[in-house]
Subunit: 222 residues, 2 copies
């Protein structure tokens, strides 16, 4: 699959390496694709076959465009690429925006919804934002199975993203489809509990597992 | 232990029954303690030794006062009891406030913090708000161990609350102490993901388990 990744931080790099390893055709998009320091920093990735291009070039390449930019900057960056270039594409959004005081930059909605609203012809799928980038690409590094969530409007786009998440090593039954893109709120707001758990346990490298009732539990009407 | 419970809804009743069963001296506080319908509704509890009183009476009785009222109404109700009557008491806060549109009533902070700020001489401990009332009192109903969180400023109060949570059947190592009362934000905002998981799985009766890295993981500086 042709994957474009926006964001050259830890998350973008980890995902690029993992998906290239899984045989995908990966282009990382940067606002400064010719920057010498960036090229040095990414040389392991380019040695593994990942290419570097501008943001628009990565988007043009992509069947699936991954948003791994800081959540505070994501919509502005996608706007420079433009709605026509994003129409019909799957946007796999892992971003969460934080303000300097540690609160969420989208406290009343979610970044995922904001991207979907700004680019209504793209198919936004929110996922992977409840775990650290090391765990994202190494689910077996945990003491037991954890859960990954999906939110998005388009069933075909979610199926594509589900496949890409399993290519990172997650088993298909580790994924819970929460529903439409509005459910991205739950995934993003979990960031506050994530930080609390990280402070308490001393590591970002954990997951959470949804533990279901033995007998299936009562239905939602009870 | 002398426990006062504010709130005669499903959560208050479940906790009252479980703590009475564990041998505690429980008084439920209501704004209408003589209401005949309420007394009928609570007759199983009163048969089990739980007493009904006004909100102020339940607070006066309590070493630990449990806030199981709707989060939108909690501060106003506690204000009718008054800061002097709450000074020095442990307030075990399980409340989460929702507005009619399904968003949190305290989206930028948390109810736990708001109660602590309103009653600085009380010792607020936020806990149990990430699980359904049935799971609260029956952790063994789940397919495996789940996690419960604690947030609060006062170490002694957290120790007391930890004991009361284990009296509900939770093992001590199921509890993660997140830190100060500001970390209640993470617990309360999890409500959004909780609702998404409930819709996806068809039941409220689940927990989440924090799954740690096999090797302990990198520290937070990495």
């Amino acid at each position: 699959m042709r994957i474009g990744i926006l964001g050259t931080g830890h998350v973008g790099k980890a995902l690029a390496a993992a998906w290239a390893r899984a045989g995908h055709d990966v282009v990382i998009g940067s606002r400064r694709p010719d920057d010498r320091e960036l090229l040095t920093e990414l040389r392991e990735l380019t040695a593994a076959g990942v290419r570097i291009d501008g943001s628009a070039g990565a988007a043009a390449h992509a069947d699936v465009l991954v948003n791994a930019t800081p959540g505070t900057a994501s919509v502005a960056l996608l706007t420079t690429i433009g709605a026509p270039a994003l129409a019909g594409k799957v946007i796999l959004d892992v971003g969460v925006g934080f303000l300097e005081d540690g609160t969420l930059s989208h406290p009343l909605v979610s970044l995922g919804e904001e991207i979907q609203r700004a680019f209504p012809e793209a198919h936004v799928v929110k996922t992977l934002c409840t775990i650290d980038r090391k765990v994202m690409v190494a689910p077996d590094s945990l003491e037991g199975p954890a859960t990954v969530f999906l939110s998005g409007e388009d069933a075909a786009a979610k199926k594509t993203v589900r496949g890409l998440v399993t290519d990172l090593g997650w088993s298909d039954d580790a994924l819970i489809d929460l529903g439409g893109i509005a459910t991205a709120r739950g995934q993003e707001h979990f960031a506050l509990l994530f930080i609390g758990i990280a402070e308490a346990t001393g590591t970002y490298e954990f997951g959470v597992r949804v533990v279901l009732p033995t007998g299936g539990g009562s239905g939602l009407d009870h």
